[in-house]
Each structure stands twice: as C-alpha cells, then as structure tokens.
C-alpha cells in the first residue's frame, strides 16, 4: 500500500501509477454530480458548462444554502455509485474525468473504460460526511442550479481523503477481489459455523 498526495488536475501518468489498495489524498478542484446531473448531461444532451478534464468527480447530493449569490456548505456526503455505472464510460471519454469518487464501486464497463482512458475509482469512507464537509473549503460554483441538489458542483478541497483506490487502470477491482476471497473462504466458514 502506497499513500499519495496529489493535486488536480491529475495527469494520466499519475493516475496510471495508482494500484488498488493505495491511499490517496488530494488538493484542488472536485466536481459533484449525481444521477440527475448525468441524465441531463448524457441522456438529454446538455454540454457541461465547465471543463472537467483531468479532474475527479464525486457522487453526491450536497446539502447547501444560498446566501446572496454565494453557496455555502451545510453537509456534503457521498452516495452509492453502482446506480450511475452506465454514465462512467462517457464521463471518462467525453469529459476527460480521471477519478470517480463514491461508495461501493462500479461494474465491468466502468472498469474497462478506466483501463482505456486512464482513470480510477476512489472509495470514500461512507457515513463520514462530517469529515468530507470539513475538507471542502468552498463551494466555488453551482452549474445547472435548477437541478439542485443534483446539479453540477465545483468544490475547492484540501487534503481530501483518505480515499482507497478500489478500481484502477490495470483491471484491478478491490470489491471483486474481496468478494472472490470471501467466496473462497466460505466453505471453511460454513463447516465451522454449521457443525
């Protein structure tokens, strides 16, 4: 396990170095997206109003408050990524996104796209929204406000992490690996438990 402190935008080279099980922290810009953001973007063909190339995105529906024309954070947590699996290949190919941050991981098509375009899936610690909110320094911009809380958010973050590399650009998939290992152990566990 290696620990990396990165800065956005990520280079393809920096991302391809990451292996499952590594720990990542980063500084810079993070984009927040969710189901509806991506339906709007990909199914309804709206061009993103901002360049996300090289940046990470996080699966979130943040709780924010608007004071004047400035958005302030209340509580930002992370949601389950499996629901948004079908959008990931296009996020990587069309928008140049280099890291997907979420909980629970995604499937084969996303893993393949990560290998092809040079990207990773970074697993956040679910349920630790207080930490996540603290590491977000500022809500810099909210695009497509009418979709809030599933708009497109630009956050400025500092020491964002720890994030576990759970899917890498070399076909490594931590959740698949853990599941396969559990299945390998199960016969022995049954034998003891059901004796």
């Amino acid at each position: 396990m290696a620990t990396y402190h990165l800065e956005t935008a990520f280079s393809e080279q920096a991302i391809r170095k990451l292996k499952i099980g590594d720990i990542v922290y980063f500084d810079g810009t993070l984009f927040g997206i969710r189901d509806l953001t991506q339906i709007y973007m990909f199914d309804q063909n709206h061009e993103p109003p901002v360049d996300m190339a090289g940046h990470p995105v996080i699966h979130t529906a943040p709780s924010l408050r608007k004071v004047g024309d400035k958005w302030e954070k209340i509580c930002v947590g992370t949601t389950t990524s499996s629901r948004m699996d079908r959008f990931t290949p296009r996020l990587l190919e069309k928008c140049g996104v280099r890291a997907i941050i979420g909980k629970g991981g995604q499937y084969r098509q996303s893993l393949d796209a990560m290998g092809k375009f040079g990207a990773v899936y970074l697993a956040i610690v679910g349920g630790a929204a207080s930490l996540e909110t603290e590491q977000i320094q500022e809500v810099e911009e909210v695009f497509w406000e009418h979709l809030h809380p599933e708009a497109l958010y630009k956050f400025k973050v500092k020491d964002f992490g720890p994030l576990t590399v759970a899917m890498d650009s070399h076909g490594g998939h931590r959740y698949f690996e853990v599941k396969a290992e559990a299945e390998r152990r199960l016969p022995g566990i049954y034998e003891k438990l059901l004796a």
Partner: protein
C-alpha cells in the same frame, strides 16, 4: 396532581433525533476503537482513522456524522405509573421529528411511495415508526430514537424457514445476507438478527437487536453462543471496513428472539451502519427530561 405537559414529549422527540445524528453513543465509539486495535490491514486502518476524525468533527462542530438522516424510529416504553394519553404522545413524537428536521435543519428523507414527493420534514403517513411497550413499576416515559439510513436498511431481509431446516438454516441465512450486502451498509456495523415470532415480529426483533448497546450479549446462553458464532463467521469473511477488505467486518451480532409456531422457523436480518446512531430520553412525570443513549 399537576397536569402533564405534552410539550416535553415533543421537545424530547426533537432533541433525541438531533442527538442521535450528531453524538454517537460511547459504546459505539468504544467498539470502533477496539475494532481498530484488532485490525491488521493498513488500508483498513486508514478507514477507521477517518471514522474517528468524522466523529471528532461532529462533536466539535455539533454537526451530522452521516448525511443520511434516515427515517425516524421511536421505541417508546411507558411506565405503569406514568400519566399518559397515547394519542397525544403519538402526535408529539411526529411533531418532534418534523421540528428536528426543519429547525436543525437537516435533509428530510421521507417520501410518498408512489408520487415520490418529499415533504422535507422526515415524517408522513405511517412515520415516524413507533414501537410501544409498557413497563411495570415505572413512573416515566422512555423513548429510544434510532434514525435509519437507507444504505443499511435496504439490505434488510427475512425468510420463513421450516422446522426441518433447523438452526443451521438460520445461521447460514444471516452469514449469506451479510456477504450479499457487501459494502452497501457501510460496514463494520451491527448485524441485527431476529429469530422466531411471526413474519412481522421477526423483523421487529431484528430492529430491536440493532438498537442494543454494541456488544451487549443476550442473557440467554443459547442465543449468546449463536451471536458469538455468527460474529466470528462474519469476521472470517475478510469483507472488512467499507467492504474493501480487512479483519473486522462487524462490530457485533445481536440476536433478539421470540417463541414461534410449531411449523415455523423464521429469521430476519436488519443491519446498522458503523455510525450506529441512537439516543434516549427519559421523561419523568415532573416534566424533567434525562438524555442518554
């Protein structure tokens, strides 16, 4: 006797919801610490450290630990000597949950099952979930509040086995349910298990099981043994914190049980996430409220 002021019930219902979301019980903190000490895998240890930081920030800033404020559940116990009007208590619990949501404020997660319209105040038809129980020889009203987030609640499952399947079927069902849930319920949490009763009672037992202080063993030796066996089995899977691999997959397995029908053998699993949130209020007839976990 002075007339009991039901505003205290509303106030307590509001405060316990907020307390549960912002202040994790000491037994949960202790169990996470012990789990961290036993965890040998470095990436998994990093995950525990992040959990401790999240708890510390919530303490310091009085904020939510997890963004999913869940659906409110109140487990109410009314003493035989408590002066009470059940309909009024029910109304005040709902009002308290709604006020907690609007006044803190935090996201309300309750929604209409068909229209999917969210009233943004955590309640609605059928909510909050309220369990009623009655205690001999007490003059107070106790409410134990458990907010239930969806990542863990969505993993709930139950099955009506038959007596011929024996207790092996119950144990295998719990282990398989855990493996199938993977990273979804934000492990390592509490695995609540119900055995016995009817289809509805068995799930309620599993829910009561997650509300127990972490690691408090069943008083029944047969049940306590089953808890330990399941805990060892689940930890042996290696699924680990957040389903990313590690030695600790659960903080504890709790089992609640009831008698069942001679032809039945029911089991239910209800999981609680690592921020195993709960808070308690005890209301005395004087109107004094004591808060705890």
């Amino acid at each position: 006797m002075r007339k009991f002021d039901y505003n205290t019930v509303e106030e307590a219902a509001k405060q316990v919801y907020i307390k549960a979301l912002t202040d994790l019980p000491p037994d949960v903190r202790g169990a996470l610490k012990r789990a961290y000490e036993r965890e040998s895998q470095p990436p998994a240890r990093e995950i525990f450290k992040a959990m401790f930081k999240a708890i510390e920030i919530a303490d310091r800033k009085k904020t939510l630990v997890c963004q999913d404020t869940g659906l409110p559940i109140y487990m109410v116990k009314i003493g035989s000597d408590f002066p009470w009007n059940g309909a009024e208590i029910k109304k005040r619990l709902s009002k308290g949950a709604s006020r907690a949501t609007l006044e803190f404020p935090f996201r309300g997660s309750s929604t209409h099952i068909l229209t999917r319209i969210n009233p943004q105040d955590s309640v609605g038809r059928g909510l909050p979930v309220i369990y009623w129980d009655f205690v001999e020889g007490s003059d107070s009203l106790e409410m134990l509040m458990v907010p239930k987030g969806s990542g863990s609640e969505n993993m709930s499952t139950m099955k009506m086995f038959i007596p011929a399947d024996g207790k092996a079927a119950l144990k295998k069902f719990v282990l398989d349910a855990f493996v199938a849930s993977g990273s979804n319920p934000c492990p390592p949490g509490i695995i609540g298990v119900g055995i016995g009763g009817t289809a509805d009672l068995v799930m309620r037992l599993a829910k009561e099981a997650i509300a127990r202080p972490v690691g408090e063993r069943s008083q029944q030796p047969l049940i306590a043994q089953m808890e330990q066996e399941l805990e060892d089995a689940i930890n042996a899977t290696g699924i680990g914190p957040m389903g990313l691999g590690g030695d600790i997959s659960t903080l504890a397995v709790h089992i609640e049980w009831a008698y069942t029908h001679i032809t039945q053998n029911p089991v239910a699993v209800n999981t609680q996430c690592w921020p195993a949130r709960r808070a308690r209020a005890i209301i005395h007839p004087s109107g004094d409220i004591e808060y705890g976990f």
